[in-house]
Point group: D2
Chain length 292, copies 4
């Protein structure tokens, strides 16, 4: 298929490369042109504007946040103005449920298609075609672009006809991880004050009940108390929890754990955590417990 | 070694059987004698009173709660009165930190030893010698009875010289599981109201970030909404969260997630959940969200 | 002074009337013209557009929410385009801290003045000139329009040079009231289940520690369990708590009580409370406690 | 009437003096005899043991906590062993609901009466006969000792036939005060970071919505940040919130505000607040917000 790709960060670059490898005809756009050139060497054409990447059957966006996506879609010469009738915008960014809903409506009015397709996985998984893709939108639209999703991940979950449902699922993922961080933080504060070594404790926990890598990864960071440099910075954690709460607000779903986490992130950011990894939230329980 | 074993429930029977298999000389006691007889056929001697099980180098207790352990230790003809100087009481029950601390003191005053050795694992793991044992107490005492712990589990973690530290670790385990239940309950309430099928959502979650069996097990119960018969009844969940909070109180460690969970358990029990599995706590977020 | 007044709801009508009584030359604007006519009979001139009300030394806005204020200020022929250099926009609506900050900036750039002056008091207090006015902004601007504030309330608090600080103070007021509602709701759930009559309990509470009318007013509603018709509707309560949380977010101030209240409001709205008084939040604790 | 009085602290001394003034025949007991002597000069007889104070129609206890009351009632030569059939134990201490229930049962079995009669008011109110008395118990018993309650307070509320209901009401009072402390703490953290002077803010709040002295008293302490010497020490605050939560546990009433307060008290005590006034809980929100 003929496909555009906008947003060549750590995730986007790997995904676009896999589209090329699968034999698709890919046109890439990135605000900083140098990243586009790296893909050109793999066979991509380079677009000079977002609109220039919209000439084919579909265009992916993999951008930082609501503002970036909104500018790219609604701006002069943006996606909405450039995409052909019947062609699809595949939105893989972590954006708000509200924006995703509006995108579905506005593309629909323009005779275009919209598929929300956020992914689970880190940059290395993106490069290795190991992503999990959560796709939602009108089934005809999703089916038509399925080969593209198959080309970028190990498995695609089609979870709803409502595009924004995929974004809710994506947001719930970071929410679940954040609850793991907080729960380990509290547990370690407790056993730590009882005199137990936190690393040894983590070994008990991960050997027995909680083998999932997320426990080992974040538990090790919390036990070590080393939160810089950030893998995923605290302000981004606050943003995603905020998006989950916003979704809960709109759907009328109270999320007390998310509320607690939001307060934790604010406490962290108010006390010097701007540049720390979001797992630093897991250090607050110990601080409340008087640990130096 | 010559060892007594008091408390032959689902867990205790399997553990005692493994002590016999390992060649130890085991005397068992159970309030309901029939369970002791089952072990007699495997080679155990039967004691008529708790005290009769205390003639050897060590005695295990694997009982329901603080009251049961307290009665067995402090009652007439109980362990404290019967155990030889230098012999050890190995306490594997899930009891309060406070009681464990008192047991350590009182056995110490009597010239006896005390090792807290709660276990992680279910009855089938106990029977299969697959338990993880968390042991704490004076290192000489722990070392001396190590062969017994090796006989009942796949691995022993020696985590502190303070016996009660092992109980804190054990309590933290059920606390962590309960946070998983609550977090899945909230996430499913959110995605459910966004129109996503809960079972499919769980498949996304467990395929990607959360492969640990605890997510699959409890997530399936919550998605299915079927909480009876109870594998682990809600009142027991409340009890264990209460013990964790009590430990936090005594050590001056605030545990906001545990506080939230305690309130959830009370809500559940106030609304007909007495006989439900503790995972029913994971249904409350959806109820708050207005799900029928 | 020559002054405009935009927004003649229950509050605005009383305030505008007091400006007239104090001898000021008042031009009023309201989207529904009939309300303006009522004031014309008291001596006001009627403006046909918001901009027509901006010819004098100052213009008040007393509108429903951020959107209404934003439209009136930034719309074609709005306040920003119409107000003379040196004249002041006095904003008495309950709006977000963020909008208030932007208004201060934009009026400043246009050579205009901006004073945030939200009020405490109900419509009857507005009519009786019994309001308390919380004013903030550059001191010269505040001082210049002080006679107007003196004309509408019993006391003016000048609390900051930063206009938006007044909005924070206003939002904190509804936050404090909401905490009273929740605390009474929990206390009554507790004593109610202990067999105490809630109305008698309220008499104990208000006779002893809590004489403030807010306890009597909301306590009576909660004890009676009658939440319709709404004096202040639940969705408005959610809105104001949301604005307080938003202010906390921007200032990096975690507000755990506000988080808890937000979840309560969502629970209420998800379960049929859209048309109920916000004090219905005080019924949720009893519901969680299993009260029919 | 012939009446004993056990516990002559700040509260008890004032109450006992009023019983004497009302013409009752009062025998007092206090562990530290000197306090009893002060009352002897006002006409009281001095008892050498708690039991010696139990010869009349009724005996009051006004003691520090559950342990003190329990020892005095159940100890050798205690109240239970000494009180005549038909005579009443009037319990005015702030004790647990559970102990109050047990006292009602045990006195009942002994043919004695039990009235729970905790009071609202500080020592100066006790001395001035301005207390509010919350009484509960079998109505015949309460009626019989009513003249005694009339002698010590300005008003008696008879709120239930179940004695322990009075204790629930008493505990709810300190819970409500603690919520005021926390809510003011959060509100001040918010407005403080917005640049508003906290004392001036408090004046706004208490002039408008919250005239009750409790707001002025605690707000002034929080705004001033001076928490020593303690009027009511933080550990006592934790104790009372703990008793409220315990009552909620037994009655199956979740109290999320009380849970939050408990965590706040633990945080305070873990960070050097052992000797501070309980209003220091109101400083924690500002600390979380990064205020120096």
């Amino acid at each position: 298929m003929q496909v555009g790709f906008i947003g060549l960060g750590h995730m986007g670059s790997g995904i676009a490369a896999n589209l090329i490898k699968a034999g698709h005809d890919v046109t890439v756009y990135n605000r900083t042109r140098s990243k586009a050139e790296a893909l050109a060497s793999q066979g991509a054409k380079i677009a000079e504007t977002p609109g220039d990447a919209c000439g084919g059957d579909a265009v992916f966006t993999m951008l930082a946040d609501d503002n970036a996506v909104s500018d790219t879609v609604y701006g002069d010469g943006g996606i909405l103005a450039s995409l052909k009738k019947g062609a699809a915008h595949i939105s893989s960014s972590t954006i708000s449920v509200d924006l995703s809903r509006r995108l579905a409506q506005d593309h629909g009015k323009a005779g275009q298609r919209y598929v929300a397709a956020p992914v689970f996985g880190r940059p290395d998984a993106a490069a290795a075609k190991k992503l999990f893709v959560v796709a939602a939108g009108q089934s005809e639209a999703v089916n038509k672009i399925s080969p593209l999703l198959d080309a970028i991940g190990q498995r695609t979950f089609k979870i709803s006809d409502q595009a924004e449902a995929a974004n809710v699922v994506k947001l719930s993922g970071n929410f679940l991880i954040a609850t793991v961080i907080e729960s380990l933080g509290e547990a370690m504060a407790l056993v730590g004050k009882a005199g137990v070594d936190k690393h040894q404790y983590l070994e008990v926990v991960t050997s027995t009940l909680f083998g999932a890598p997320v426990y080992k990864t974040y538990g090790t960071l919390i036990a070590g108390g080393k939160f810089e440099p950030a893998g995923f910075a605290a302000p981004l954690g606050l943003k995603d929890i905020g998006l989950a709460l916003e979704a809960g607000h709109d759907l009328r779903v109270p999320l007390p754990l998310a509320s607690l986490l939001r307060d934790r992130f604010l406490t962290l950011l108010a006390n010097g955590g701007e540049n720390q990894d979001w797992s630093a939230v897991g250090s607050l329980a110990a601080k409340d417990a008087g640990e130096a």
